[in-house]
Symmetry: C2
């Protein structure tokens, strides 16, 4: 990612080309191989010099995995986290009492290794469901961290991946109270991706000082328009979690909803979340392209979100995009079954720059131009429902042979 | 299908091995090639010697296609249909005023050909969305019917297919008031298949005399546990329709809800609908097997239906079944996001005869036996939620490379 500047009113959010989760002051991160996965890194950590104010959002799946329960307990005890430990390969989900005991044990070892209280320690797991956490490997991973550290952020980003094909990292910089403040993030997620919260882990750090409740509300808001707007396959997993840690090392005045720069900070956080969400969608299992669906003219933002999710989730649309086939009939169909207030005679649809449906009726269009757009790495579908001011954007990917190949034998 | 007898109380429903939509007395059916599709039959008809009491259910998609509007108008004017005309290849959906005019014209020509009033004529179309109905081909098809008839029922079943790989036909026989009564059916549907009503056309005939309102209520009831419980890809189309025509030629006393044999008739109709629904699921685009998901122990039938649909709709489960991978974690996950009242600690899951989850916890199981089951043509997933008496069954198919291949280039 090259350096870019995004204007927010008269202020700026600067993308840092090499930024990552360890960019904000006072954060270090790394990853080791503990043996759960064959050769790839499978155990990552993030550490803050001081306890960081922390907010989280978690999967809505009824079968919530053990590490999420333990991490929520940590955060709710004082809204502070200093150490975060994540393993990939085994999700520690559907593992009952033993799974919960194992998660507590993983937290305890982590706390000891980083010499922080257990309630300042967060944990996460991702991978296979229903297998017990291999505790001797977890212990080995923690010992490795203590001995070597491996303080390289990109090792953290590698260590949290499962079927992902690439690391997902970003950082941005803003200026508040004359202080440079940065926000960094890392994520994993490739399959079982769907609103609300997917097999998706996302960790965000900032050196800003932020009031706990404001941070929590901001994260919930932003999650609804970023992580909850992506889908790969419609399956919401047991282990999804987004955490944001704010350690205050930048020395700014405490940010809260009344602070003049609050919207700038929130915008910076939103850019980080949206960038990570899009990277997850782009790296969907078997995906060959990122698909962005913009819906406007809906009766409400909520209706726009539902329509955009119906479009982005349709297997028929995803396969048509895979084949670069301008099959707008499937888009009409998805809008029609989204169960939202839609007037068929007011709907317009464009594929990239090419208008294909105007006020409910197909229009003659340049097939070659439409195909050209669908062959790009970034495909956009724009829909105007013509009935109001509600709007939303959703992200997803195409459905390919490789999706089937990957998922026909993930476990074996 | 070999002859089988199903016991309903002390009475019997007999499956007729060679039965089809023209089995009931007084019905004839056929199909011709009118040139919409390259070489395959693409124009089918069903005719009853006398006007038949008719009930219908229709797609819930907001973009309801023109022929559905015209057919609903016919039926609502007197609840009688005598002639039915169906073309495949072009759906006449999203075609605006012209599409509606074309649908009326198709009905008019059909009525003239069969010498019945327009309001006794039903029409249906299936195929590409957004293309105008090629009226000269439709006219040619109707002329062909008038000249040759082609009175072979299996030509009707062929003529209504699109991406289907095989015809779908069934008939059963029951005895009411000492009269033999038969119920026959034909269906098409392969992609864009999802509750409620899919790219699915289903036509059912019976020589029973049935009171109009009772027939309508019975069809709605039965649709909810048959056609609305199948999914191929989660997309509900613009053209779905199920019609049942009862012409009374068997000479029984008029059937109604108070008739002692009402439940027998309803059971016969249910068997026909369920058989056609399963055939559609089995012939899902790219499908290599039929998947049956049974859910019991739910707090209500409605909750059981929602859970079974979540399971049958999951791409991750469908690909795992395609790969014969006993990945029960994905079933747990789907149950968990179905948004129904489920107690995680009470859920049990079996793959065919193999118990894999018992009361929320994985159990050691014979991987080879589970794989053996998943390699069958008929796969069953059984879930007991352990929380009540609600139950439901849903049907679907696996997700294969061929699904992607077929749908990446349907239009081109």
């Amino acid at each position: 990612m090259t350096e870019q500047v995004k204007q927010v009113g008269e202020q700026e959010v600067t993308l840092l080309p090499e930024g990552n989760i360890a960019t904000p002051q006072g954060f270090t991160a790394g990853g080791v191989h503990c043996g759960i996965r064959k050769t790839k890194l499978d155990f990552g950590w993030v550490y803050s010099d001081v306890p960081a104010t922390t907010a989280g959002v978690y999967t809505t799946n009824i079968f919530q995995a053990a590490p999420l329960k333990v991490t929520q307990e940590s955060i709710s005890s004082g809204q502070k986290i200093q150490a975060l430990l994540v393993n990939s390969g085994i999700a520690n989900a559907c593992t009952g009492e033993q799974g919960l005991a194992d998660a507590y044990q993983m937290r305890k070892w982590g706390a000891e290794a980083f010499r922080v209280p257990e309630q300042f320690t967060a944990i996460a797991s991702t991978g296979l469901i229903g297998e017990p956490l291999p505790m001797e490997k977890i212990k080995y991973g923690i010992d490795q961290i203590q001995m070597q550290g491996n303080h390289h952020s990109n090792r953290f980003e590698q260590a949290i991946l499962t079927t992902d094909t690439r690391e997902k990292a970003i950082a941005v910089e803003i200026e508040i109270d004359g202080q440079k403040i940065s926000i960094g993030g890392a994520a994993k997620g490739s399959g079982m991706i769907h609103p609300n919260m997917a097999t998706m882990l996302s960790f965000i750090t900032t050196d800003a000082a932020v009031e706990a409740e404001a941070l929590s509300l901001a994260l919930k808001d932003i999650t609804n328009t970023s992580f909850n707007m992506i889908t790969v396959d419609g399956d919401t997993s047991t282990n999804d979690m987004v955490l944001v840690l704010a350690n205050g090392k930048a020395g700014n005045e405490l940010l809260h909803e009344g602070h003049p720069d609050w919207s700038l900070f929130k915008q910076g956080l939103a850019i980080v979340c949206e960038a990570l969400a899009k990277e997850i969608a782009r790296d969907g299992e078997g995906a060959t392209k990122l698909v962005e669906v913009q819906v406007e003219g809906a009766e409400s933002d909520q209706a726009a979100r539902a329509v955009s999710k119906a479009i982005i989730s349709s297997n028929l649309i995803k396969t048509a995009i895979h084949g670069a086939d301008a099959n707008w009939g499937r888009i009409i169909t998805a809008i029609g079954y989204s169960d939202q207030p839609v007037d068929p005679d007011k709907v317009s649809i464009s594929l990239g720059p090419v208008l294909v449906v105007n006020k409910g009726m197909p229009v003659p269009f340049d097939e070659a131009a439409a195909k050209d757009h669908l062959l790009q790495d970034n495909v956009s579908i724009h829909t105007d429902l013509g009935s109001g001011t509600g709007k939303a954007t959703a992200w997803g990917c195409d459905l390919s042979y490789d999706y089937v190949r990957i998922n026909a034998s993930y476990r074996t």
